[in-house]
Subunit: 365 residues, 2 copies
């Protein structure tokens, strides 16, 4: 693989990751955590992975202003210029519009990968090959490409993409035209999708030429495009920050999926299979982690388990922990806060975090 | 109640309390812990309770040498003379023989209460009335008295005492002659005991005149009596410590129940009911503690529970703990060690502590 100077990456790192509380906190969300115990945080792995494709200085990180220092300290090779600080959460479309103009001023011929900072990819090589092919296709065609993951189970936690039969790109038969995007389905529908064979999980990873995505913004989200276009003279100058501070509050909150992908007619998907998970739930983390014979994924050097199975146990390295008789639980301690939660109730963690915030104060969440 | 100068108490405080690990540790066993969260450790409550009966200087505490400092610091009103240090565990008979001779040298006319340091008594007044009556009976008769607790459930964790119908002491009809002592029964047998109405729980609290118990040692455990008799000149002198250091290793390991009570013919029981528990198990602690509407007994100011019932939760005062979906569990953190254990498996805690000792080292147990 050769690094291409026309390739750019935008890493979206603004999430607050309440679902992984108390490991993930609003002051220290999931993307900044070594959630797999590999020695690298998720954003570090994501960044490293993308440097195979493009020069490190071509990678932009969009995050909330409060995480700027975290980004800079975890990615010391990144300059301040590369960290795009949002003053508030406005979903993915504004963040991409902002990055588009930043890149446009550097290189109007760029091809861009937009990727979340907190996903896990087990087959790195497959991922890079996929992106390489998708970038090539995007640079040659006016296509908005997304990566669709071959589903291995009827997961109700993902959106789905249906694709058309015909091949469209001789150099990569796995690129197809998108027929429909579907929101997270119920189990019955998810099972139908899985059986039909022409549905993929929506990974939230996008590939396009800068020209194509900017054109699509002009066509599909002109009000967002207009707002960010006004800053054309200040991007990559000292005036950028105050311009963004003024622009974000008046910009609408809208996702790239809803604002562009579901409307545009030139949307394509690359059928992919590289051991992907969005790590959206403790359950998905459990699926990926190494497990003992009883199915426990344990982080911590001093954890002793008896008659305990299918648990996720994340404990401070040296804390002595003895667990007897737990099945299908999450047991996590982080910064002196302990959570013990039935895995099937993990969707309640958001509510719990809310209760904690109200009853115990901001410092705990 | 008037304090009687002929009354003495012997508090047995040598236990290592492995069952309450990690709250109770070999370096800090159960009797030295404020296990109910009342602000007093169990030995402090026991000592205080007994000062209603006898002058504080008449209370002896028998413990292992390694706990001497703990005793002195928790009971500052006690002098070194009052703390009898065993160099090793030899069960209850040697400890009582030793205390007998210490008291004998001070007051051969003493009447003595022997009581464990780590039991809980909810109805203090009833306890004192009971002891007062038993002490009076013991001082007037050559009787070895034990307190038998009216059973409220078919508990298989206690030994049982069967008593005879006839009243024997006009001033207290609840004193009866003992028919048999029974070891911990199985559930079926325990149910039969409960139905029969003439069985009591063996509390391990004894009352006798010094003369009677010393006579009984001579008759039933002469070899133990002989050993401790040899020290008659050194008790309460600087020579006592080295004498005890030499005597204990050669003394047999035997309980007062097995060595005296089950053999002697002058054994009586006082039928009692003063809210007693030996706190031998987390379950028994759970029975006694205040509980929330879901039956959780919680210590800790920052514990939040969801869909959680019948648990014992003991957490450091200010630690934030969120528990979802636990039923019938023990969750305890002490000195940075966390235990999560199904209540029905609590008899395995001894084994767990053993594993911890072997795998992680002495410092954790």
């Amino acid at each position: 693989m050769k690094v291409n100077k026309d390739y750019y990456c935008v890493i979206m790192a603004g999430g607050i990751g309440a679902r992984f509380w108390p490991m993930s906190r609003s002051s220290h969300p999931k993307q900044f955590i070594d959630i797999l115990g590999t020695g690298e945080t998720l954003i570090q792995s994501t960044f490293k992975r993308l440097t195979t494709l493009c020069p490190p200085e071509n990678i932009l990180i969009v995050t909330n202003g409060i995480y700027k220092d975290l980004v800079m300290s975890q990615l010391p090779e990144v300059s301040e210029e590369q960290v795009l600080c949002e003053p508030m959460r406005r979903n993915t479309a504004p963040c991409i519009a902002y990055a588009n103009y930043k890149i446009y001023k550097q290189n109007p011929d760029a091809s861009v990968v937009v990727a979340p900072s907190d996903h896990i990819i087990l087959k790195e090589e497959g991922f890079i090959d996929t992106l390489d092919s998708a970038l090539k296709a995007a640079s040659e065609n006016d296509w908005l490409l997304t990566l669709g993951i071959k589903p291995s189970r009827p997961d109700t936690g993902y959106g789905y993409i249906q694709y058309l039969e015909e091949t469209v790109y001789p150099e990569d038969e796995l690129i197809r035209k998108v027929k429909t995007f579907t929101e997270k389905p119920n189990l019955e529908l998810a099972e139908t999708f899985l059986e039909s064979g022409d549905f993929l999980w929506n990974s939230g990873i996008f590939i396009w030429s800068l020209k194509s995505i900017m054109k699509s913004f002009r066509e599909n989200l002109p009000e967002v495009d207009e707002l960010f276009k006004k800053g054309i003279d200040v991007y990559n100058t000292p005036g950028e920050e105050s311009f963004i501070q003024e622009t974000y509050p008046v910009c609408k909150n809208i996702s790239i999926d809803y604002g562009i992908m579901e409307k545009a007619s030139n949307v394509y998907v690359r059928i992919s299979d590289f051991g992907w998970s969005d790590l959206g739930t403790w359950g998905s983390l459990h699926d990926i982690r190494d497990k003992d014979e009883q199915g426990n994924a344990i982080n911590g050097n001093n954890v002793m388990v008896y008659d305990t199975g299918d648990c996720i146990i994340n404990m401070p390295a040296d804390k002595l922990v003895v667990i007897n008789g737990l099945k299908d639980f999450i047991v996590v301690e982080e910064e002196g806060t302990l959570l013990i939660c039935r895995k099937s109730d993990e969707q309640q963690i958001r509510q719990i975090v809310n209760d904690v915030k109200i009853e115990k104060g901001e410092k705990y969440v």
